[in-house]
């Protein structure tokens, strides 16, 4: 094991030796190394977050046929730093009547819940925070913390708009967590493990090919979990002004904003890990661990771009439509997919890899077509009923 092959772990071992040399016993030395590692990781992620602000603003500008920030620094790259300074020197306003502890805790929790996800994201085979054997459940749990932050913000602000935003968040969370959990079961079945590193290592064929429908369900429920358009009902500015963060200003708002952007990028990363082979790309990842990190970042950025693409293209969905879509379409489809995947995986195990892949892919396509056909038929029946009722009214009024 030399420094060139595996810089992170060699550095960690070296640090641990240094700390042990100072007379620290093992658990403390390990904890100190972990502290430094976690701090480095969080600092780098926050730096990434700053540039995400720039990326988001540039991309939305392109979608709306504008140029975006281009004055401060080359291509406007220094703009987010200028924004941070502005946010820092703004007055810290707490509205009268707000529940002060919860009000101040909400933005912290909002960003912390996203940062926590980076503890389990495998950046490469050797560069990762921790390889939990229940990482998939951890992903769901940490995601729910972010929702809790939104509810706390809405409840403590002492504002009815904010409260409405929080109510909507509850409805959204209790709905879209079910398809998300079921979609997470698909890579678990295919890889036979809940550890994200094992999921990546067993993805000789990307799971998006084996379970395209699982990926679509995961993408939709991830967007809903993020609270981004078209599911951004908790901050719907045309109805409830800014929703849960209406009373937040300065750096507290900044934390919510940074948390939202980072959450989207992080889910891009998890989509890459679960469905797009993670840090692997046709053997390129074996050159160097940092090349693998680079591959994962590119994939995560593409996932983030898709989430932005959907956000700036699709209009907001009404809340009853959203719940109906989830409970009457997405959840049954997710469970059907789970059953089909389990059965096909069991039947096709032991066959040639290409037979297995083809069988999985075709079963997904057939299931999607069947689901869409059922949806079409039921919508047509509903429309006919409504038209019949309307024509009955028209006939009675003409007499």
């Amino acid at each position: 094991m030399n420094f060139w092959k595996d810089p992170i772990n060699v550095a960690a071992d070296w640090l641990k030796n240094v700390f042990t040399g100072w007379g620290l016993t093992d658990p403390y030395a390990t904890a100190l190394v972990y502290l430094l590692g976690a701090f480095t990781m969080v600092a780098l992620v926050m730096l990434l977050d700053v540039f995400l602000v720039w990326i988001e603003r540039k991309v939305v500008a392109r979608f709306q046929d504008r140029v975006g920030p281009n004055r401060v620094g080359p291509f406007g790259l220094i703009q987010p730093f200028a924004d941070i300074i502005k946010l820092l020197i703004k007055e810290d306003i707490t509205p009268a009547g707000a529940d002060k502890v919860v009000y101040n805790l909400a933005p912290v929790l909002s960003l912390a819940s996203v940062l926590l996800l980076w503890a389990i994201l495998p950046l490469s085979a050797l560069v990762y925070g921790v390889d939990l054997n229940v990482a998939v459940l951890y992903l769901v749990a940490a995601g729910a913390l972010g929702t809790l932050a939104v509810i706390m913000a809405g409840w403590s602000s002492n504002n009815k708009y904010a409260l409405l935003g929080a109510f909507r968040t509850v409805a959204q969370m209790i709905s879209f967590e079910i398809p998300m959990v079921v979609a997470l079961l698909i890579p678990t079945i295919l890889s036979g493990s809940m550890s994200l590193k094992t999921v990546v290592e067993r993805q000789d064929i990307w799971y998006v090919i084996l379970a395209p429908l699982g990926f679509i369900i995961f993408l939709i429920s991830a967007i809903a979990e993020l609270g981004r358009a078209p599911f951004d009902l908790n901050e719907a500015e045309s109805e409830i002004v800014a929703g849960f963060h209406i009373e937040y200003s300065g750096m507290k708002f900044g934390l919510f904003y940074a948390g939202e952007l980072l959450h989207a990028f992080t889910f891009g990363g998890f989509m890459a890990v679960l469905f797009f082979g993670g840090y692997r790309f046709f053997g390129l990842e074996q050159i160097h661990p940092l090349v693998a990190v680079f591959i994962l970042m590119i994939k995560a950025l593409l996932g983030y771009w898709v989430i932005m693409w959907i956000k700036y293209t699709v209009p907001r969905i009404r809340i009853d439509h959203m719940l109906a879509f989830n409970w009457k379409f997405l959840t049954p489809m997710a469970f059907a997919l789970l059953v089909v995947t389990a059965v096909m995986h069991k039947l096709l195990s032991g066959t040639q890899p290409w037979v297995y892949a083809l069988g999985m892919f075709l079963s997904n396509v057939v299931l999607l077509l069947a689901a869409l056909e059922i949806l079409r038929t039921s919508a047509r029946n509903q429309r006919r009923q409504e038209e019949a009722a309307l024509s009955a009214i028209a006939q009675t009024s003409s007499h």
Binding site: L35, E91, V108, V181, V182, I189, M251, A324, F335, V339
Partner: protein, 118 residues
């Protein structure tokens, strides 16, 4: 094994520390000139009537119950999914029957008309 959770614990502290540090820095740097108008609740036209912490009708009460059942179900399904390769076909079918019972519950709620926003 325990080291993994030690790392998570350390990460939790660091992840909480960074946002708190940002807020403290903003609190030190920013001006502090509060006045009653500035601290009043945001409104759009007319001022808020009554207090905000009111009782409300939970439209999604039944949704919440169904959610609870399915979320608990997920905990049972994860071990089943992990061990699927080693399980005999009989146990796989049993898992599917388990899913079927819960989906039947969903269909029951649906037919009762409880999955409608009222």
């Amino acid at each position: 094994m325990h080291n993994e959770w030690l790392y998570i614990g350390v990460f939790l502290i660091v992840a909480g520390f960074i946002p708190v540090a940002a807020l403290v820095l903003a609190w030190i740097l920013g001006p502090k000139k509060p006045n009653p108008i500035k601290q009043s609740t945001y409104e759009c036209g007319i001022e808020t009537v009554g207090e905000s912490w009111v009782q409300f009708k939970a439209q999604y009460y039944v949704f919440a119950l169904v959610f609870l059942i399915f979320d608990v179900e997920a905990v049972f399904l994860f071990p089943w999914a992990v061990a699927l390769d080693k399980l005999p076909l009989f146990v796989v079918v049993e898992g599917i029957i388990f899913i079927g019972i819960l989906v039947a519950g969903l269909i029951y709620v649906w037919r009762k008309g409880s999955l409608a926003w009222v």
